[in-house]
Amino acid sequence: MRHDIGGTVTAIVPAYNEAEHIADTVRSLQEQVRPPDQIIVVDDHSDDGTGPIAAGLGATVLRPLSNTGSKAGAQNFALDHVTTDYVMVLDADTTLAADAIEKTMPAFEDERVAAACGFVVPRQVRSIWERGRYVEYLFALGFHKQVQDYYGRPLISSGCFSVYRTGPLRQAGGWGQRTMAEDMDLTWTLYELGYRVRFVPEAVSYPVEPNDLSLMRKQLKRWSHAFFQNARVHWRGLVTMPYLFSAVAVGLSDAILASVVLLALLPVLAVLVSPLFLLGYVIDLPVVAVPVLVVGARRGELVRAATSIPAFFVLRVVNACLLLKALVLEVFLRRPLTVYEKGH
């Protein structure tokens, strides 16, 4: 059944050296069941021909006079040119299922909803890092985020694909550049302004995920720092929202305690007491496997999900390292990450 929500939509695609992917991204927007009324590609001073490719496909290409320095900067640059009721953002390396926008828009039937995001599935699931990320998404978006949505507080309206009402977005000041995760910052700002955010699992996007350790490390480093940065920026607002506060609190506890357990406690116990403590690295495998296999089966990807689960535990250890490092740098040494480093 098609839901027609009145209003026009502008799609903003921030792009920096995305010649390899931008054509697929623009085409996936044009081939939507409910296509956006305007597609703006912000060519943030690419030197690989990204802009001409997007323009050739019919997108409006804006090119700032100098590189804006971050995804948020590029998106804000385009926001000034938006005249539609809704704004959607889509990463330049992300494609959408044909019905993604159509499935997302009914979330705005509730006038208090200012943002809505969808399910994310890596476009390519080949390397160990892509497989780890695939399992992470199936687990976190197939269970955690849906529970968050039921209680009205999705933790993040994902930056790779989200739709916003233009008014509240402008009221929030656009995408903040004070942290390294503009999506988390904006989501929490919208909550603080009294708006709602929805997660629509039926609307699926397919980003290209980091396929090697170097790219994955850059992305996880940015996300880890951004988590602590946003917690610091928003903590006064968070305490007025009990559910969100609890979700962030347990997230922080995992970031710290689980990292210590994985990186310090388990190896020490394995050496000093018994090697059996190494089982601790995979002791939650059954808990992880249940939602991953259920969601994977629902998507017709049971075998891929099952065979990818081991990669999740590898990615988790890398994640733990970067989270602990980010904690030390952001909280104890007061050396915040300030340079936006692209890692897909």
Binding site: A19, D43, G49, F139, A140, F143, G173, S253
Partner: protein, 202 residues
């Protein structure tokens, strides 16, 4: 997207508890006339998922001590599982106590004014329907199919940059398709674009 370590520690326990509490909340909403069958279906689905996850965790903790671990895996004589649950509850209580004790005055971030209109280079869009542009072509050069996973190399219609000075443009990985057919190409009209603003582009 996010940060954290899904699958470990308190976060998963937190969401399991939240899922188990869903039916109670939905019951209240039903009594208030604010529920629906669709919502109940969602609640039941997540409850079943949570019960399956919880069941698998209990089975793990039941099986492991009997199969591989020493039977006395206790902390101060108390089961380690019980210690975990107590720690989890205590943590949530303390966290929410902090929330109660902290002054409620929310200091909102100062909304910044809309970005001032910056001069931009706007490349005019071509008039060809999108469906006629399944692949991308750069003036006699063709992107390798491997670089465009879904590009259809068989019908390459694209962008003609003939006459555009591509000096300085990094075309690494792009090869000239010398054997390709003559193509009806869409054109990017750069006539009205100030030359100086394109300096670093092409």
């Amino acid at each position: 997207m996010g940060a954290g370590i899904p699958g470990t520690g308190m976060a998963t326990l937190f969401y399991l508890v939240c899922a188990v509490l869903m039916p109670l909340r939905e019951l209240v909403l039903t009594l208030q006339g604010r529920s629906s069958w669709a919502r109940w279906r969602l609640v039941c689905r997540h409850l079943l998922l949570a019960l399956a996850m919880g069941g698998s965790a209990v089975a793990t903790f039941w099986f492991l001590p009997r199969a591989v671990l020493p039977p006395d895996l206790t902390i101060g004589g108390v089961s380690s599982l019980a210690v975990t649950v107590v720690l989890f509850v205590a943590y949530l209580v303390v966290a929410n106590l902090v929330a109660v004790l902290v002054p409620r005055s929310v200091q909102l971030p100062t909304p910044k004014l809309p970005t001032p209109k910056l001069p931009a280079t706007q490349l005019p869009a071509t008039q060809l329907p999108a469906t006629q542009l399944p692949a991308t072509q750069l003036a006699g050069t063709q992107l390798l199919p491997t670089q465009l996973p879904t590009a259809r190399a068989a019908d390459p219609v694209g962008v003609d940059l003939t006459g555009v000075d591509l000096t300085g443009v990094d075309l690494t990985g792009v090869r000239r398709d010398v054997d390709g057919p003559a193509l009806p190409l869409a054109t990017i009209d750069l006539t009205d674009v100030p030359a100086d603003s394109l300096e670093s582009a092409v």
